[in-house]
C-alpha cells in the first residue's frame, strides 16, 4: 500500500508567541494510504480546518512534519505537491475562477503549463466524469451549488490528483446538492480508485468513509472505523457532533424497552436488528 499523506506529530498555533495558549493543532499524527477515504470530524474550532490549510501549504507546522507521497512538505516542494492534490472548498461561489465551466476546469492546467491540445482533452474527460459535460459553456451564476461543486471536482480531476480533499464541501448545499456531490465522489472512487480526505461535520458523510478521525480541541481524540468512532456515543454528542439517525433511534427504542442487540449505524442494520431481536423466534 502506498502512503499518500501523513502527519507526524504536527502542531500549529496561531499565537506562537504565547506558549500557554491552546494550540490550534496539537501533536497530531495519522496517515492515509492509496485508495482510502478518510473523514476528519469535529465541531467548529476543533482544528480540522487548520489541518487542511497545512496539507495544502497555506500554513506550515511549527512542530513535526507533513509528508505527501512521502515527500516532506516545505516551501521547495510546495508547488509540486499542490499539483498532486485536488481540493474542493466550502463555498461553491468563492472558488470558481473561470468565466465559464470549461475555463474553470482548465485553470489549474493553465497554471501548470499543460499544452493546449492536452488541456482540451483533459477538460472534457473530467467534465464527463462528473456529468457536467453538457454545461461546458455555462456561466457560474447559472449553476446550482451542487453543480458548482461538481465543476470544482472536475477541476481537481483534470490534474489527475493523488488525493482529493473535500473541505466541508457539502455544508452549504441543499439536500439535493449534497446528494449529487457525494454520489459523484462515490462513483469516482469506484471508477478510478480515488483517495479522499473529507473534512465534515455531517455524520452521514462520515459514515461513507473507511476511517474516521475525530478531532477535539486541536487534538486527535480518536481514530477508527465509523463503527468504532460512533460507538463512543455520548462522548461525540458532548463535543457537539450528532449521532447517525439509526443510532439515535436504537437508543430511543432501547429506552422504551424494545429489545435490540447493539449499535446500528445504518437503517438497514436497525431494521435487521429489530427483526432478529423481536420477530425471528
Amino acid at each position: 500500500m502506498t502512503e499518500i499523506l501523513s502527519f507526524h506529530n504536527v502542531s500549529f498555533s496561531y499565537t506562537p508567541d504565547k506558549p500557554d495558549a491552546r494550540k490550534a493543532v496539537q501533536n497530531v499524527s495519522f496517515s492515509i494510504n492509496e485508495g482510502e477515504w478518510i473523514a476528519i470530524v469535529g465541531h467548529n474550532g476543533s482544528g480540522k480546518s487548520t489541518m487542511v490549510k497545512m496539507v495544502c501549504g497555506l500554513l506550515f507546522p511549527q512542530e513535526g512534519e507533513i509528508r505527501v507521497m512521502q515527500i516532506i512538505l516545505n516551501e521547495e516542494t510546495l508547488w509540486d505537491i499542490r499539483s498532486k492534490i485536488g481540493m474542493v472548498f466550502q463555498n461553491p461561489d468563492n472558488q470558481f475562477v473561470g468565466a465559464t465551466v470549461q475555463d474553470d476546469v482548465a485553470f489549474a492546467l493553465e497554471n501548470n503549463g499543460v499544452p493546449f491540445e492536452e488541456m482540451v482533452e483533459r477538460v472534457s474527460s473530467s467534465l464527463k466524469k462528473v456529468k457536467m459535460y453538457e454545461f461546458l459553456n455555462h456561466e457560474p451564476h447559472h449553476l446550482s451549488g451542487g453543480q458548482k461543486q461538481r465543476v470544482a471536482i472536475a477541476g481537481a480531476l483534470a490534474m489527475h490528483p493523488k488525493l482529493l480533499i473535500l473541505d466541508e464541501a457539502t455544508s452549504m448545499l441543499d439536500p439535493q446538492g449534497r446528494e449529487e456531490v457525494l454520489q459523484t465522489v462515490l462513483e469516482l472512487r469506484k471508477e478510478i480508485g480515488l483517495t479522499v480526505l473529507s473534512i465534515t461535520h455531517d455524520v452521514e458523510e462520515a459514515l461513507l468513509a473507511d476511517r474516521v478521525i475525530f478531532m477535539n480541541q486541536g487534538k486527535k481524540y480518536a481514530e477508527g472505523s465509523p463503527e468504532e468512532i460512533f460507538a463512543l456515543g455520548d462522548k461525540l454528542t458532548e463535543f457537539g457532533l450528532e449521532l447517525p439517525f439509526a443510532m439515535r433511534m436504537t437508543e430511543l427504542l432501547q429506552a422504551k424497552g424494545v429489545h435490540l442487540s447493539g449499535n446500528n449505524l445504518t437503517e438497514e442494520e436497525l431494521v435487521n436488528d429489530l427483526w432478529t431481536s423481536n420477530f425471528s423466534k
Binding site: D17, L59, P61, Q62, E75
Partner: protein, 183 residues
C-alpha cells in the same frame, strides 16, 4: 516563531490581484445598479454611486488600486451601457481621479485614516475629473459650449460621492479586518 510567514510573496500578489478585481466589480456595480434619486432635475435626478465607490476604493487601498478600479470599472460600464465612445475619456479621467484621491489620502504615511486628508483628496480630484471630461467631449463634439452641459451633473455626482464615501470609509476602517488588510 519564524515559520508563520503564511503570506508568501506570491500569496500577496494573488490576493492583490483578486482584491483589485473585486474593486473593479464593485465600482461597476455601483455605477450601473446603485442609484439615489434626487428631487433636482440634473441628469433626471438619478445619481449613481460609482464615484462614491471609486473614492472608497482609493481611500482604502491607495492610488494604484483606486486608479485601476475607477478606470476599468467605469470603462466597463461605458462598454456595457452603450457609451463606448466615451470609454477613452472615462478611462483617463477616472484613472487620474482615483490616483489623485489615493495619493493624497495616502500621503505622508497616512493610509486613508486621516479624515481631513480624505476630504481634501476627494475635493481636489473633482476639477481634474471634470476637466478631462470637458476636454474629451470638446474634441468629440467639436464644440466648447456643448460639454458645459454635463458639468453640473458631474459636480452633483462627485458631491454625493464625497458625502457617502467619507462615512463609509470611517466605518470600514474601524473593522479590524479592513484595518489589517489595507496595511
Amino acid at each position: 516563531m519564524q515559520k508563520t510567514n503564511t503570506l508568501s510573496k506570491q500569496r500577496g500578489k494573488t490576493t492583490d490581484l483578486v482584491i483589485q478585481a473585486m474593486l473593479v466589480a464593485l465600482v461597476f456595480i455601483s455605477t450601473i445598479f446603485l442609484n439615489i434619486k434626487l428631487p433636482i432635475a440634473s441628469n433626471g435626478g438619478l445619481v449613481h454611486l460609482g464615484t462614491a465607490m471609486l473614492f472608497i476604493a482609493s481611500i482604502l487601498f491607495g492610488p494604484k488600486k483606486g486608479a485601476i478600479a475607477g478606470a476599468v470599472g467605469m470603462g466597463l460600464f461605458d462598454l456595457v451601457g452603450g457609451w463606448l465612445v466615451w470609454a477613452p475619456i472615462t478611462i483617463i479621467s477616472r484613472a487620474l481621479q482615483g490616483y489623485i484621491v489615493g495619493k493624497i489620502a495616502w500621503s505622508n504615511g497616512s493610509r486613508g485614516d486621516s479624515i481631513a486628508k480624505n476630504i481634501i483628496a476627494t475635493i481636489v480630484s473633482i476639477p481634474v475629473m471634470v476637466g478631462v471630461y470637458y476636454i474629451g467631449e470638446a474634441i468629440m463634439f467639436s464644440s466648447f459650449i456643448m460639454p458645459l452641459a454635463s458639468i453640473p451633473g458631474d459636480l452633483v455626482q462627485n458631491g454625493i460621492g464625497i458625502i457617502i464615501a467619507i462615512p463609509v470609509c470611517m466605518v470600514l476602517k474601524k473593522i479590524p479586518y479592513f484595518a489589517s488588510i489595507t496595511r
